[in-house]
């Protein structure tokens, strides 16, 4: 998967987790928490969805990498570059 495809996948997951938020204006360099209504359970949903969809295991100590879209894609890119988008 390319970084663009990973971004698209994360955006799709966010669409499920934050269905009331407008994601079209998401700023990739700003923390999710500062622009979306997300709490700790929602972040766990991101982790769970990546696990379910792509079997990506994200250890707890790495959760901080999921702060913004840019940092999330950057973190996931080496883990998902050899995968095909579902």
């Amino acid at each position: 998967m390319t970084p663009a495809e990973i971004r698209e996948e994360v955006l799709d997951i966010l669409g499920d987790i934050a269905p009331d938020d407008d994601l079209s204006a998401l700023d990739d360099d700003v923390a999710f928490r500062d622009q979306l209504e997300l709490d700790s359970m929602d972040f766990l949903d991101i982790v769970m969805e990546l696990r379910k969809r792509y079997r990506v295991q994200i250890p707890e100590e790495d959760y901080s990498h999921l702060a913004s879209m840019a940092s999330t894609v950057s973190y996931l890119e080496p883990l998902m570059r050899d995968m095909q988008k579902i």
Binding site: A18, P19, D20, M41, M48, K52
Partner: protein, 419 residues
């Protein structure tokens, strides 16, 4: 306007009145709609299909979930939570409370449930099967969704209530038990406004249907609207239904002070236990429960105008309740009996509260709604005063008695008085 009433031995500060009603039933999403359906014979039972069990029947609610919840709230919470939130919000609006100025710490939430957590657990296990039962795929939402206080807790979260909240597990007597709990907490001074009643999401768990089916107690009929038929000789079981009903309860002096409307006063109640069987009812204990409620209310049976029966449409249960009713009410001809499950099926934890609510407007319109779907009355269910198929106009309705019984032998009776 509440008239002065010196007939109660209790001081006004201990008298509990219903000042608001919010509900969703399979045939109505407000008290008015529900009452109209009960008076016009409109059923809420429809064809239904559920995992593993397949095609069956159920009573389904059609309330607008988005009226009080965001899409995210709905994703996060449970159906029982949504049912509770809708009913509680509607009840508070109906009560005319100045909600923004009600102290949130003075409000208590007491919701009866038959069960809670089956739906969410079944869903998780179904999902987990797709991951070969690897529990790392088990949702972190499972615990907050399945804790027993979930439906009441979701109401408190949604409405910003900071007083006590919990559910009362009382099988199918839970709707009455929730109301009783709310009244007791008001009398103890634990809260000043009680949101009390019952909720159910049971139509979403295949286990409830499968268990009733295995027990030979799941209703079947070609016409869904005619499947729930308590007291009919051809009855063949229960129609599982969802629903919720929340009463705003207040002490009479508080209600008077703010000029609140009053649907009725809790005149008496009783809860007792058969202690004889897991599922089979005990008419002697049921009769004792009715008599205890009457005694506490200072009433004799002939003073009750309407008895809202519990009967679910099972062969044994209906007959046993009728044995109990005949032993208490005899054939005085002054009391009339009806059944709400014949319209909507069995709303489980909500049943007692909904069935009471559907009868309370009889204080205003003077009509006893019917028991529908009785083509041939079972002679063993022939209780004098049973209102069959068509509503009956009464001269004046002053007292409604509501039966609600459940598995493990729990019996509950509530008597509401016109005020």
């Amino acid at each position: 306007m509440i008239r002065a009433d010196s007939s109660s031995p209790l001081p006004d500060h201990q008298r509990i009145v219903i000042t608001g009603i919010g509900l969703t039933a399979p045939n109505g999403n407000s008290l008015r709609e529900f009452r109209d359906s009960l008076l016009s014979g409109r059923s809420g039972v429809v064809p239904y299909e559920i995992r593993y069990v397949g095609k069956t029947l159920a009573g389904l609610c059609t309330f607008d979930e988005r009226r009080y919840q965001s899409r995210k709230d709905l994703r996060r919470g449970t159906r029982a939570g949504s049912v509770g939130i809708y009913a509680a919000q509607e009840a508070v609006a109906d009560a005319g409370l100045d909600w923004p100025n009600v102290d949130p710490a003075s409000v208590g939430v007491y919701l009866g449930v038959t069960e809670h957590g089956n739906v969410e657990t079944e869903n998780e296990i179904y999902e987990l099967k797709g991951y070969d039962y690897d529990t790392s795929f088990w949702s972190h939402h499972h615990n907050p969704r399945t804790v027993a206080n979930n439906p009441a807790g979701e109401v408190a979260l949604n409405m910003g209530i900071t007083g006590p909240h919990y559910t009362i597990g009382a099988a199918c007597a839970a709707g009455n038990a929730g109301l009783v709990q709310g009244a007791q907490m008001l009398r103890l001074g634990d809260c000043d406004v009680a949101l009390a009643g019952g909720v159910s999401e049971s139509v979403r768990t295949f286990g409830i249907f499968a268990s009733f089916k295995s027990q030979g107690a799941l209703a079947e009929h070609d016409d869904p609207a005619r499947a729930s038929r308590p007291f009919d000789v051809e009855r063949n079981g229960i129609v599982v239904a969802e629903g919720g009903c929340v009463f705003v309860l207040e002490r009479l002096d508080d209600a008077r002070r703010r000029g609140a409307q009053v649907y009725g006063e809790l005149a008496g109640y009783a809860i007792n236990t058969d202690a004889t069987d897991f599922v089979l009812p005990n008419p002697q204990r049921q009769a004792e429960c009715v008599r205890l409620a009457l005694r506490r209310a200072g009433l004799v049976p002939e003073q009750i105008d309407i008895v809202s029966t519990h009967a679910t449409g099972t062969s044994s249960g209906d007959t046993q309740e009728c044995v109990a009713l005949r032993s208490v009410f005899g054939d005085s001809g002054k009391t009339f009996f009806n059944n709400t499950k014949s319209f909507i099926g069995h709303c489980m934890g909500a049943a007692g509260a909904l069935e009471l609510a559907g009868n309370l407007l009889a204080f205003r319109d003077g009509v006893c709604h019917a028991t529908i779907n009785v083509d041939t009355l079972d002679p063993e269910c022939d209780v004098p005063g049973l209102v069959l198929n068509q509503p009956r106009e009464l001269e004046r309705v002053s007292y409604v008695l509501n039966n609600s019984f459940g598995m493990l032998g729990i019996n509950s009776v509530v008597i509401i008085k016109r005020i």
